[in-house]
Structures are given as structure tokens and as C-alpha cells.
């Protein structure tokens, strides 16, 4: 079974009472010593080392805690699929929240660094600023509107 997480791939196949993981062309012997679905806990033997992990899944996302450190992995089809931070000229919401004010309208010319709109969430005020000089070609939100993380707010074209 081949799995790709973000840009890394590995293959895990059953082998005897355990598994063989193929990582960077090397074979690693893995055994499941214990597992508890209630807590997502797995006690593994990886190459003879005892490793305790907690794993959770939400659709393609996998959260893994090991040795007190947590990482979030995303299962992909294998093709590189970045997050949408660089979506054409669109500026996205870095967090969920509410649009506090909109300083521009469609057609306005804006300068790099100019504040286009402000958001507020919990105790933070966030300014959405132009990444480059250009013109506002689309405005997808209005004042008071609730937005999701990574929602496109406004688009600026050079």
C-alpha cells in the first residue's frame, strides 16, 4: 500500500506478523505491539525501537503525536498540491473571522503594502494588504461578513 503525505511517499505492506515499510528505498520492519482506537494510540516497534504514537484522521488529514510533538500530514494523490496561499492575484483569509472593514472597491488602483481590508477574530485585528501594485478586480466579501480560513477575499491584478 503506497501512501503520499504532502510531498513524501512511503509504502507499507504486511509481512508475517508485522509490516515492512519502504522509505527512501530502504526496508524498515514495523510491528504493531498495541493499539487503542478510543485514544488513537499505537505502540509500534520500528526497526526494533519502541515508538508510541497517537494518530487521528479527518478526511485526508492525519494528526500524529510522538514524543510530545505533533505534526499534521495530508494524504495526497501523489501529485504536488500546494495550499492556496499563492492563488493567482487573490488574497485569502489567513484565519476564520469577521470582516471588520473594507477600504477599497472594485476598480481601485492599489499599491503594494496598502491595507485593503481588515479582519477581526477572537482578540486579533488582521490587515489584509496588497502583495503588489495593481487594480482590484474582484471583491468577494463585505463588512461584517463571516469568512472561513483560506476563503478568497479580494483579487488584485497587475
Amino acid at each position: 500500500m503506497k501512501t503520499t503525505f504532502d510531498t513524501h511517499s512511503l509504502e507499507v505492506n504486511p509481512s508475517g506478523a508485522g509490516y515492512i515499510a519502504v522509505v527512501d528505498g530502504k526496508n524498515v520492519r514495523v510491528q504493531v505491539l498495541r493499539a487503542d482506537a478510543k485514544t488513537g494510540m499505537m505502540e509500534l516497534s520500528i526497526d526494533g525501537r519502541r515508538v508510541v504514537a497517537h494518530v487521528s484522521a479527518d478526511k485526508a488529514k492525519r494528526w500524529v503525536t510522538m514524543n510530545g510533538q505533533t505534526v499534521m500530514l495530508t494524504k495526497t494523490s501523489g501529485a504536488k498540491r500546494g495550499v492556496r496561499h499563492d492563488h493567482a492575484g487573490g488574497l485569502i483569509a489567513p484565519m476564520p473571522g469577521q470582516v471588520r472593514s473594507v477600504a477599497v472597491k472594485v476598480g481601485d488602483l492599489v499599491k503594494k503594502g496598502q491595507t485593503l481590508l481588515t479582519m477581526e477574530a477572537m482578540k486579533m485585528e488582521i490587515r489584509i494588504q496588497a502583495l503588489k501594485d495593481g487594480a482590484v478586480t474582484a471583491l468577494h466579501v463585505q463588512q461584517g461578513q463571516t469568512v472561513e480560513r483560506e476563503q478568497i477575499l479580494i483579487e488584485v491584478e497587475e
Binding site: 512511503l10 482506537a37 503525536t65 510522538m66 510530545g68 505533533t70 489567513p94
Partner: protein
């Protein structure tokens, strides 16, 4: 004593108060917004009242609805917790006008301390040292002159503000105009007032606060300090007591100043005097008073040996404080870490989502004050505090070790948390030395990134799909078997 109390708050502090009430034999009424109908504080209370929509002004900030809920359920007193209406003098007055008891100080004390400018003037009169600065200025020009006289960097802040809102550090004159505008806007939006004050910004300053406590008969004591200098965005993330910076003599001086400050406004119930402390010259200045229970009150409870929330209720019910200043000593060392749903690698932006898995640390002298469990949702409507992890040990080194062990036992999946970041702070040499000042986090962790993905983690993630396949199957099956079955969401695997 009261027989029923309404708790006008949510999350961990509502649960903390419910527990105190239960031990005192008092029934509890929870209030909640539509976003919180499955929240733990609603489940733990004896009864609960829906206030309205998720937006705070429709629910936890809506004084009328809260007072109506208290009258409707027959509660005799309201505990405001912290945040929301806890420092709103109008609310305190409205509660008393409705023939209910406000569990906190008098409306007059709240009002007196609520205005940062007015309270500063009062403190000067009471002989409490304050930060060099000016109050009562209006035009940008006046602020510019004041800033030049004080010398940059300066701090502009909303007179009605608190909790890091409506506050801006200004490093040079060119930034002043924007800073004034931002602070005014935040002040207006958050506190309904755009009045600002300006004062010297102390660069390597420490934030050291003193817990004070008084009954309604004029007995007022302090319960020692809390060092709260580990901050990001002007908000605390790690607090501890005692502070390594204070000598016994300095502690006594500051404690006396704290009591004098509280006495100046005829204070009763729990309150906190915040000081700015300059370790270079061992000078301290009154910053503000928080006229309510503090988020970080547990470390004082552990080191001073007192249940502050139970005493808040007892004092509100008219009990006399049976203790005197000399009855209290500091024992051991306590640290609190605030576990936030936020991403330290993106400037501590809040993170929202459903908690796929939530396992708390446990063990002797480890305390977790939390409002979440597996399946809870972290929404953007409220403060992203997941839990307060508090430890108590014989000395500071042991407390740090205990905290690091406890942090490594905590599992929270579904939102990005600051747990790994807190570990980095705790193991930092500067923290070990107690040299951390309020700007230390931004100066040292600006480019902080989470740990990379290890091969082990990928192997574990791959195998989880195989090993826990049964769980996902269950979830799929059971969703269709019973419409009265609201608990499937608690599975840690969601596909």
C-alpha cells in the same frame, strides 16, 4: 450562603466555577450561545439557559438576557468569570439593581479602575508608583509632544482597554499616527471609548502582578505575585509564582503597594494589581488593576493554599475573611501554561476545528482546567484557549521538569496548538534563568517553525489507516442505524 448561582461565562472558567459551587452545595445555572449547546459547562451545570446566537453581543455579552435568565431560574447571584461582562461596571450595577448579588467588587470599584487614565491619577494620589506618561490628551499633536517628552519607544493604549486590546507600541514618530488610529478604533469597537493615554514603553520590562483579596468588612490582603512576562501579542502564555526576580523585601514593598492601590478604591473580592517591573533598577510601576478573577489564578491557589473561587462566593455572600496577611506564605513553585488553539509558526494565528482527539496530562500535582473534550468544536467566536495546564512542585527546576513532562503527555488533534512551542520556551536557557521579558517571545521566536515530519510519523499515519480501519467502518455503519444517536461525532477518525 446562596442556594443557586448563575455563571455568566463559558469554557474552562465556567467549569471551574461550577465545581466550586458544587463543593459549597450550591446549585448552578449555565448560560450558553447556540454555538455552545454541547459545551461541557452546559452539561456540568444543574440547569442551563440558551441566551442566543454565537456572537458575544447576542449571548455572553448580553446583560439583559443574562439577568433575565437568573431571575427566571431563581438564581440569587451571578459569577461573571473573566472576560465578557466581568469588568463591566454597568453590568455589576444592573445585577445589583435586579436584587441579585454580583460576585465581584462593587460597580464603583470597577468603574474607578476601568479607566486607565483616571485610575493612574488615583494611584499617584495614593502614593503607588506609576509609569511616566500622560493622561487626558486629545489631538495627535498633543500625543506627539508627549511622546517626544517621554522619549521613544512609547505605548499608546485605550483608557477603557484591557487584555492587550487597543494597545500599540510606537518605536518612532513615523509610526505614531497609525498607532493612535488603530488603538482608538480597537478601543471604540471593544470598549465603546476612544480615549487614549500614552506612557513610556519599558523595553526589557517584566510583567509582575499581585493577587489581592478583600471581604466586605475592610479586610484586604495580598496573596503574593505572579510573574507573567512570557507573552505574545501582549497576552500571557506562561505564568509562574514566585518570581525569581523578587527579593523578600521587594515582595513586601510591592505587596504593600498592591494593597494600598486596592484600598484606594474600597476594593473587595478578588482582584489583581498589575505592575511593570524593571529588573535593571528593581523599580516597579502600577500598570492597571483587573477587577475580577484572573485567568492565571490557579498558580496562586496552589502556592498560597487557598481556593480563590470559593472565597469569591463566600465573600459575596457576606462571609468575613478569617485570614490575615500573616496567615499566608508561599510554598513551592507553580507554573501555568495556556494551551491555545493557535499556530505559532504563522504569528500565533488562531486555529479552529473539531477536536478529533483530546487527551489531557495527568499525575500528582498536575492540574488541568479545561472546557473541552474529544469531539468539542473550537470556533472563531471565542477565545481560542483550550486548557490551562498547571503544575506545582517543590522548586522552580522541578516545576519546569514537571510541566515539560505534562506537556509531552498532552494530545490535541484537529486544531493547531501551541504545545510544541511552549516546550521550546520552557527548555530555553533564558527561561531557565528567569530573564524573559514581555517582548522576549517576538524577539526570539519570530521565525519559529514546527518540527519537521519524521519517517516514524509517516509510518504511524500509514499504519493507523490499516489498524483503525474498523473504527471508520463503525462510524459509517452507525450513522445510519439510529437517528437518536448523537454521539458518533466523538470518534477520533472522521472519513
Amino acid at each position: 450562603m446562596f442556594s443557586k448561582i448563575l455563571i455568566a461565562n463559558r469554557g474552562e472558567i465556567a467549569i471551574r466555577i461550577i465545581r466550586a459551587c458544587r463543593e459549597l452545595g450550591i446549585k448552578t445555572v449555565a448560560v450558553y450561545s447556540s454555538a455552545d449547546q454541547n459545551a461541557l459547562h452546559v452539561q456540568l451545570a444543574d440547569e442551563s439557559v440558551l441566551l442566543g446566537d454565537a456572537a458575544p453581543r447576542e449571548s455572553y455579552l448580553n446583560a439583559e438576557k443574562i439577568i433575565a435568565a437568573a431571575k427566571q431560574t431563581g438564581a440569587q447571584a451571578i459569577h461573571p468569570g473573566y472576560g465578557f461582562l466581568s469588568e463591566n461596571a454597568d453590568f455589576a450595577r444592573a445585577v445589583e439593581s435586579a436584587a441579585l448579588v454580583f460576585i465581584g467588587p462593587s460597580a464603583a470599584s470597577i468603574r474607578a479602575m476601568g479607566d486607565k487614565a483616571e485610575s493612574k491619577i488615583m494611584m499617584k494620589a495614593a502614593g503607588v508608583p506609576t509609569v511616566p506618561g500622560f493622561e487626558g490628551l486629545q489631538s495627535e499633536d498633543e500625543f506627539r509632544k508627549a511622546a517626544n517628552e517621554i522619549g521613544y519607544p512609547v505605548l499608546v493604549k485605550a483608557a477603557a482597554g484591557g487584555g492587550g486590546k487597543g494597545m500599540r507600541v510606537v518605536n518612532e514618530e513615523s509610526e505614531l499616527s497609525d498607532a493612535l488610529e488603530a488603538a482608538r478604533r480597537e478601543g471604540l469597537n471593544s470598549f465603546g471609548s476612544d480615549v487614549l493615554l500614552i506612557e513610556k514603553y519599558l523595553d526589557k520590562a517584566h510583567h509582575i502582578e499581585f493577587q489581592v483579596f478583600g471581604d466586605k468588612y475592610g479586610n484586604l490582603i495580598h496573596l503574593f505575585e505572579r510573574e507573567c512576562s512570557v507573552q505574545r501579542r501582549h497576552q500571557k502564555i506562561i505564568e509562574e509564582t514566585p518570581s525569581v526576580l523578587l527579593t523578600p523585601q521587594l515582595r513586601e514593598e510591592m505587596g504593600k503597594a498592591a494593597v494600598a492601590a486596592a484600598k484606594a478604591v474600597n476594593y473587595y473580592n478578588a482582584g489583581t494589581i498589575e505592575f511593570i517591573f524593571d529588573p535593571k533598577i528593581s523599580a516597579f510601576y502600577f500598570l492597571e488593576m483587573n477587577t475580577r478573577l484572573q485567568v492565571e489564578h490557579p498558580i496562586t491557589e496552589l502556592v498560597a493554599g487557598i481556593d480563590l473561587v470559593q472565597w469569591q462566593i463566600r465573600v459575596a455572600a457576606g462571609e468575613r475573611f478569617p485570614f490575615a496577611q500573616d496567615d499566608f506564605t508561599q510554598r513551592g513553585h507553580a507554573i501555568e501554561c495556556r494551551l491555545y488553539a493557535e499556530d505559532p509558526s504563522t504569528g500565533f494565528l488562531p486555529s479552529t476545528g473539531v477536536l478529533l482527539q483530546y487527551l489531557e496530562a495527568a499525575g500528582p500535582n498536575i492540574r488541568v482546567d479545561s472546557g473541552f473534550s474529544t469531539g468539542s468544536e473550537v470556533t472563531h467566536f471565542y477565545d481560542p484557549l483550550l486548557a490551562k495546564l498547571i503544575v506545582h512542585a517543590e522548586d522552580r527546576a522541578s516545576a519546569i521538569r514537571k510541566m515539560r513532562t505534562a506537556l509531552s503527555d498532552f494530545v490535541a488533534h484537529g486544531v493547531v496548538t501551541n504545545i510544541d512551542f511552549l516546550q521550546e520556551v520552557l527548555k530555553h536557557e533564558s527561561f531557565a534563568k528567569g530573564e524573559v521579558s514581555t517582548r522576549w517571545v517576538e524577539e526570539n521566536f519570530g521565525a519559529w517553525g514546527a518540527a519537521g515530519v519524521s519517517t516514524d510519523a509517516m509510518i504511524a499515519a500509514s499504519l493507523a489507516d490499516v489498524v483503525f480501519a474498523g473504527a471508520t467502518l463503525q462510524s459509517a455503519v452507525s450513522n445510519e442505524t439510529d437517528p437518536f444517536n448523537p454521539w458518533n461525532q466523538t470518534h477520533n477518525f472522521r472519513l
